[in-house]
Symmetry: C2
Subunit: 419 residues, 2 copies
Amino acid sequence: MAIIVLKFGGTSVGSIELVKNAARKIAAFYRQGHKVITIVSAMGHSTDQLVALARKITRSPHQRELDMLLTAGERISMALLSIALHDLGVPAMSFTGSQVGIITDERHSDARILEIKGDRIRQALRQGKVPIIAGFQGVSQGREITTLGRGGSDTTAVACAVAFKARQCRIYTDVDGVYTEDPRVFHNARLVRKITYDEMLELATRGAQVLHPRACAIAARCNMPVQVLSSFSGRPGTTITKGEKMEKPLVRAITHDTRLVMAILESVPRNPRVLSQIITELAHSGVHLRFFFHGISEADRFDLSFILPLEDQAQGFAVLKKIAGRLAAKRLRMKKGIGAVTLVGPGIGSSLEILTKLLDILSQARVHIEAVTTSSISVTCFVERRKLFPAIRRLLAGYNLKRKAAPDGQRLNRKRRQS
Amino acid sequence: MAIIVLKFGGTSVGSIELVKNAARKIAAFYRQGHKVITIVSAMGHSTDQLVALARKITRSPHQRELDMLLTAGERISMALLSIALHDLGVPAMSFTGSQVGIITDERHSDARILEIKGDRIRQALRQGKVPIIAGFQGVSQGREITTLGRGGSDTTAVACAVAFKARQCRIYTDVDGVYTEDPRVFHNARLVRKITYDEMLELATRGAQVLHPRACAIAARCNMPVQVLSSFSGRPGTTITKGEKMEKPLVRAITHDTRLVMAILESVPRNPRVLSQIITELAHSGVHLRFFFHGISEADRFDLSFILPLEDQAQGFAVLKKIAGRLAAKRLRMKKGIGAVTLVGPGIGSSLEILTKLLDILSQARVHIEAVTTSSISVTCFVERRKLFPAIRRLLAGYNLKRKAAPDGQRLNRKRRQS
């Protein structure tokens, strides 16, 4: 029988009842004769609670020790899940990232997986056991415990699915899958049944939180089919695969980001090296530049606009302030209240028809567009945040992304970003 | 500089404030130039809370997985303690039992230490680091995570002190040390400043919970000086060493046990093999027989009395009931409400003077003695529980074990038994 990898996020094991619910799902696959490998996150908000404990001691906890602390979270959930499985007569066996041999680099709190040895997992499978693996954690080549950072458990799941040659990776979460927009905000958004890796990656990077971009990127690279589905509803969810190549341009889904700011450096000398210097300096200081663009202000000087995440605002302003002084820029302005809306779908970035319609709808909604960026499968518009949601409502209707049936009480919560 | 091992029990790291308090103590030794190794228990009652979570799933959690679960407790406390030490500028480094190489047998939830490899600890010490070691846990030769059962962290501490050739092992707890009796019950009990391994072992086995008998036994075997002291008061505590050989009989301290029952198997055939069969059967069924004795009832039959811990009452009764049927015993009686009082001190088991005085005091208190057992350093009397405390008060006075000074508000709590 084929190997199947299941992943349960924090909200799917947030209580003892939910742990039992997850165990029943695993048991069902096991009884069907599958070889099942399960990846589990820490229960509910327990990772946040552990971070809060450390922060009660110091504002900047030692990174190695913080990783040691946080890995206790999955240790608890995986052991409880195994206990629940044994109670159902399933021979479960839990393994830490270190026991699995999830080898990472040395970057504490944000490690990257280098290799999955997995000898103990293969041995357990040969013995008919059902391995339960701690998500989010690994061990460095120097034998130090590491954590994988945001999206870590999704990443563990997809990486394990690849390493153990699984037929499929099923990500259980608290939403029914990928929607045409966030269903918590846009109640008539529709579930997307199939999506490609590239589209999912684009959605994930632009704000959708159903599957983490890192996990999605591994799935894409290794062509691992991923199914995102609810651990509560029993619906089939969204399947993420390579997709067909030859598709006519189509808007598959929309995502948005409300937490952006724009910094404008006015009247900077025209010099080809200036821009790369600025971008390098921002990156080194830890600012995640989302987009930049420039306009000409005078013959030999130009304006530079940078769009940054809200959380990098202070750091970004400090770095740009220094640069402004050095370059004798006329002025540095911050513009708050920026949002972004992204359309995702095959071929849409190069479809004049789709782009025209987009600009048309936005102008009808009287939305001022700060900037537009496109890729082969996406178009992103940066706009005033207060105009964002009305605009998205028009776009959902305009591209036929609304649900046809009436709401039926299904769980519509957008997934909390989990470890 | 010599190596010193410190151990902080659960009540000594029961909150973030207490974790910081423990860190300050470690930092002080470090700044004095000591090479400090610290063993830490799980915070407060967190081990009990984890057990309760598992019990919400099933009454008998799978042992391997329960060990995996419980070891999360020390992982949290050791990481927090290390974070607090870094905050004080001390280069702490936490290690799990597995990372230390605390190799145990395969007995989950009650493993025995076979060997401490300790390479990473020696390396850390060479690098000037301050290792923080998870108590209570180890790893089996089959690479499974194990826990050491009751008294596990004390055992880890003393075993590490031996393995790393420490000069001393300091056990920080929530009492000032060993008292002449439990100071929570007997307010005028006196702190014992020095005691021998044998006496401590006798006290610990008979009910005193300051240092676990397993830890005490290792200390005795390897002649490791142990100091038990409060992490709150700053008092010097009790030092446990080999002691002088030639001492005149002296009652050093008293301990008691209130949770006993007696089972009486009446009129059993006189047969030398009967008794060993019964004891073997009880032991195999998990009953911890404390004491047994017999009286003659008829020429060829005799009565057998067994003293058991209260928690083994049901199991003990079931086993003895079966035996009673097989041996055609006349009757099986259970006598509840049994207690034990033990006097401990050098040479007292063979001192006629001390024994006479004991029986004299108990008879003055109108205490009926069910049985007496002696060793070279102890005398234990099994008596009715309701007479136990009045009897102990007379014994404390009779053997001059009361505190001279008035109470001064010191912490007198008897230590909770910790993992």
